[in-house]
């Protein structure tokens, strides 16, 4: 058959597309359960990391079941919403809803230094979403630990938010100022003035990611505000 004829070209393109689609679809379907499990384990690892417990892939499930005994969902008014599994709440979907309708998951973890509350957060960085888990002491003000991650921030720059040194800096910082106003944490540049209890050092070259993280902390803790006040 003439390789330059229209018919040949059309048939070739059609067969190629169907073949490739079939291969990719079957591979994706075959691998999905494994991928979903990896993602679930990672989420549990991140939740535990925010209360400063490091785990391996193998022992995550066990430690999680042992440490995180209570998890529930609250709404903007700080009331517990019944019948929802906090672990299954998809923050991406919640963020698309108006703030009054959002489901806000809370995880409780019993540690050696008392009860900690873990809050999942989600915002936008430079290239895509950033998210994280921040744990508070039972004064509902002091940060006990933080864990951040991102989808596609630039390695060496914005992606530094998922490194230990950046996350360590959040420990002991406070969300509310003395007058009880939510000021959250700012990520500052060298030379920028900010109260020490409410700021951490920024990342050179990662300004937009840092700003996104800042906004995420302020906005998401703002939606938990009523709940935090109640528990105080």
């Amino acid at each position: 058959m003439d390789r330059n004829s229209n018919t040949y070209t059309f048939i070739y393109a059609a067969v190629m597309v169907i073949l490739v689609a079939a291969i990719l679809a079957s591979v994706a379907m075959a691998l999905r359960p494994r991928q979903a499990r990896n993602i679930e384990i990672e989420k549990k690892q991140n939740i535990l990391a925010s209360v400063n417990i490091s785990t391996t892939v193998a022992n995550t499930e066990e430690i999680y079941a042992d440490k995180i005994r209570t998890q529930y969902v609250v709404n903007l008014k700080g009331e517990v919403v019944e019948g929802v599994d906090a672990f299954e709440v998809d923050l991406k979907r919640e963020k698309a809803k108006p703030v009054e309708e959002r489901l806000l998951p809370v995880f409780e973890c019993e540690t050696e230094s008392g009860l900690k509350y873990i809050f999942p957060l989600r915002g936008t960085g430079l290239w895509g979403p950033v998210w994280g888990f921040v744990s508070l002491n039972d004064d509902m003000n002091t940060i006990y630990g933080a864990n951040f991650d991102h989808e596609s921030e630039t390695p060496g720059l914005g992606a530094e938010i998922s490194t230990i040194w950046f996350q360590e800096a959040f420990k002991g910082k406070k969300l509310f100022d003395e007058s009880g106003r939510l000021v959250s944490i700012t990520v500052t540049k060298v030379g920028q003035e900010a109260p020490e209890t409410h700021s951490v050092d920024g990342i050179s070259g990662g300004t937009i990611t840092s700003k996104g993280l800042e906004k995420m902390l302020l906005e998401d803790f703002d939606s938990y505000k009523k709940f935090l006040m109640k528990k105080k």
């Binding site: 330059n4 070739y12 393109a13 691998l31 494994r34 991928q35 990896n38 290239w127 630039t154 060496g156």
Partner: protein
């Protein structure tokens, strides 16, 4: 096959891209990803390995199909092959080595846009048998990888004071600790990657005058 697998001609396919036909410094292809991923050494290495896998395989597949591909849609066929391979690699990594796939994140997608791959498919695989095509793919990926690794080491060393995540510059040297040294913040930004590549090109051309154009 009439000629041995590693004949002189075939070996040249592997070694040439490392030297006088290097895809980055001589052909000036693939600069975009070379700038994007080289702020640190580790992603540079991972990127080099992934490109090698995709380029080797894509060259073989296109070479096998070379007598069936309709001329008018050959670029699209090449693109489909590269994109499918990249998606397959990504899916497999996500399922079996999740932490590696997380490190790669954006780079996997970037492989599709790497012009070296398409350049080799078009220039070599369409007209040659699978084995030489495979060597050509691996060779060019290696030539690309070598530059990535050099630039990645230089940028990480001067930009962050470490290499492959290991601290090289002693902590006591830093101004913050009472020393005299400060990391060059410019190094972690893309312009310095371009300047570093430029210096490599300069050195290479001053050593090999044949590469200088009139």
């Amino acid at each position: 096959m009439s000629e041995p697998l590693f004949s002189k001609k075939n070996l040249k396919l592997l070694s040439d891209p490392m030297n006088n036909s290097n895809p980055i410094t001589v052909q000036v292809l693939g600069i975009c990803s070379a700038l994007a991923v080289t702020a640190q050494l580790k992603p540079s290495v991972v990127m080099a390995i992934s490109v090698m896998a995709v380029m080797g395989l894509a060259n073989v597949i296109i070479s096998l199909l070379r007598n069936t591909i309709p001329n008018r849609i050959r670029i699209i066929v090449q693109l489909v092959v590269i994109a499918s391979l990249v998606i397959l690699v990504d899916q497999v990594l996500k399922a079996f080595v999740y932490d590696v796939s997380k490190q790669l994140s954006v780079f996997v997608g970037l492989i599709i846009t790497n012009c070296i791959i398409m350049g080799r498919l078009e220039a070599f695989a369409l007209g040659n048998r699978p084995w030489p095509s495979f060597l050509d793919g691996v060779g060019n990926a290696a030539g690309y990888g070598v530059i990535l690794i050099i630039v990645g080491s230089v940028r990480e060393l001067f930009g962050s004071g470490s290499v492959y995540g290991y601290q090289i510059v002693p902590d006591s040297w830093y101004i913050a600790n009472g020393g005299f040294y400060e990391n060059n913040g410019m190094m972690i930004l893309p312009p310095m990657a371009l300047i570093t590549v430029g210096i490599i090109i300069w050195v290479q051309r001053s050593r090999n005058r044949k590469l200088i154009e009139d």
